[in-house]
Symmetry: C2
Subunit: 259 residues, 2 copies
DNA sequence: GTTGTTCCATGATTTAAGTCAACAGATTTT
DNA sequence: AAAATCTGTTGACTTAAATCATGGAACAAC
């Protein structure tokens, strides 16, 4: 059985001739290889043209740079082209609570829509690039292009579903389930992006993972050790190799994004 | 200091002469006393008229009746007029996970938008009534009425924010914080509805509250006992009286809907 | 009203995860 | 390349909440 995914982004880019690499900042939505994951799905060529006009493409960030901060005025949503981002809130006591992990092709920043103010912050976990889509222009365009409106409704609905899955994950306890579910989620999202679902690098530290999953970093570490000992995954620092995906699913009791 | 809220719904209804009671099934959106909480905010009279044409008003349910079930085809969203509802998912092992609590003026069912299938079930926690809004008609109308589109974007955004607040509540542990936050949330939502923020009846059992908050029913019960002993709230079964709201906020470390 | 359920409170015990602490490996900085 | 900082692992101990168990109160059905 041959894997139908490329092993890494660089390799994929070198293959692409006319579509150009997605890390090329000037590539338009129609040519972006993330097209079938990002906002434009379900739009025809002409509609994508309109969308292209309002999208500010190819902004780059390095690790630790903010996309926006908690309390910032909300102006745009962001489509990730490369790299990974986390969203988080700082609680009264300054402790940061990770609320989301976002990978290429995913949309960020919808937490600002209801109040015109971002409810949390978003930072790059590594060097990355993104497109900025001014929201009021998107709204105007949506009113004129029903399929875009529909697409955006669906996108927001997806965010709701995702958050609610996370919610059930966090209330039905068990540290192991949570960690396993996160690994499966990353795995399946990688698969969607035509990357290996079995080998990937965790973009977050143990502390960030713990914060996201509502457990301590020590517990995260111990769970990795246990899963390792059972030969379910191989863990080398942030490098993860899934050895037995069905066992991993059993541990997770299949909650989050099932592949 | 005089309270500016009515003590209960019945009293409020008896006062209303031309607006008619909101439990009257035939009252239109323009006249519904929930107007300023529900979908129509930000619409003018004519737009509300259009909305009225697609809304199926005044459906009634009794305790335990389903609004929709997990896996059902998604057709409509629902606006609650009276009563309260919970949403939940059943996990593989049949254990039910409460994912949301909905009160009058709130909108239910947006979890179906992305997949055309409801991700969870919704049932009435007590006798209640609601309006059904067929989603595809709402979409069409939204494409023609920009302010309705905007309103709905905002409404979905609100759901996202709400879920993320819940998420941070569940990861930053402490049973007491969670219970306190839930009480404050209900309190402030009651306030918005011009009901007492200090006296209310919990619509859920201890088991449901526990499931929602990711703790056991015994823990919920113990937390109530402790808060009671500290004279922060008076608890008589489901009847709650908030005695010291600032102390309650301190316990909650102010997380969920702050009043 | 009586009977049968469901719901709630509380005690005793167990357990999973948190906390504290020390050290080793990585990564950055200079 | 050395120093300094951040990140990850593991152990020992503590603790908050889960589990198990009982009795009583509230509610529904008949």
């Amino acid at each position: 059985m041959k894997p139908n995914y490329q092993l890494d982004v660089a390799e994929d880019c070198s293959r692409a001739v006319k579509r150009t690499c997605h890390t090329n900042p000037s590539v338009s939505c129609g040519d972006c290889r993330l097209g079938e994951l990002c906002l434009p799905i379900a739009l025809d060529a002409q509609e994508i043209g309109h969308l292209d006009e309002i999208v500010k493409r190819g902004r780059n960030l390095k690790k630790g740079d903010y996309l926006y901060r908690e309390g910032d005025e909300f102006n745009s949503i962001y489509a990730i082209r490369a790299g990974s981002f986390k969203t988080f809130k700082s609680s009264w006591d300054g402790v940061e609570q990770v609320t989301g992990l976002y990978l290429p092709g995913e949309i960020l920043g919808m937490d600002g829509i209801s109040n015109n103010r971002h409810g949390g912050s978003a930072v790059a976990l590594e060097t990355g690039s993104f497109c900025e889509i001014p929201f009021h222009q998107l709204e105007e365009l949506s009113a004129r292009i029903p399929s875009l409106q529909g697409r955006f409704f669906r996108l927001m609905g997806q965010e709701i579903v995702k958050d609610q899955q996370m919610l059930t994950l966090l209330s039905s306890n068990a540290a192991e389930e949570r960690v396993a579910a996160l690994l499966l989620s990353i795995s399946s999202r990688n698969h969607r992006r035509k990357l290996s679902p079995f080998n990937f690098r965790l973009p977050m530290t143990r502390a960030e993972i713990g914060s996201y999953l509502g457990i301590t970093l020590e517990t995260v570490s111990r769970v990795f050790s246990r899963l390792s000992k059972q030969n379910i995954v191989a863990v080398d620092n942030k490098e993860i190799q899934v050895l037995d995906i069905s066992a991993l699913k059993a541990v997770a009791k299949v909650k989050m994004g099932c592949s």
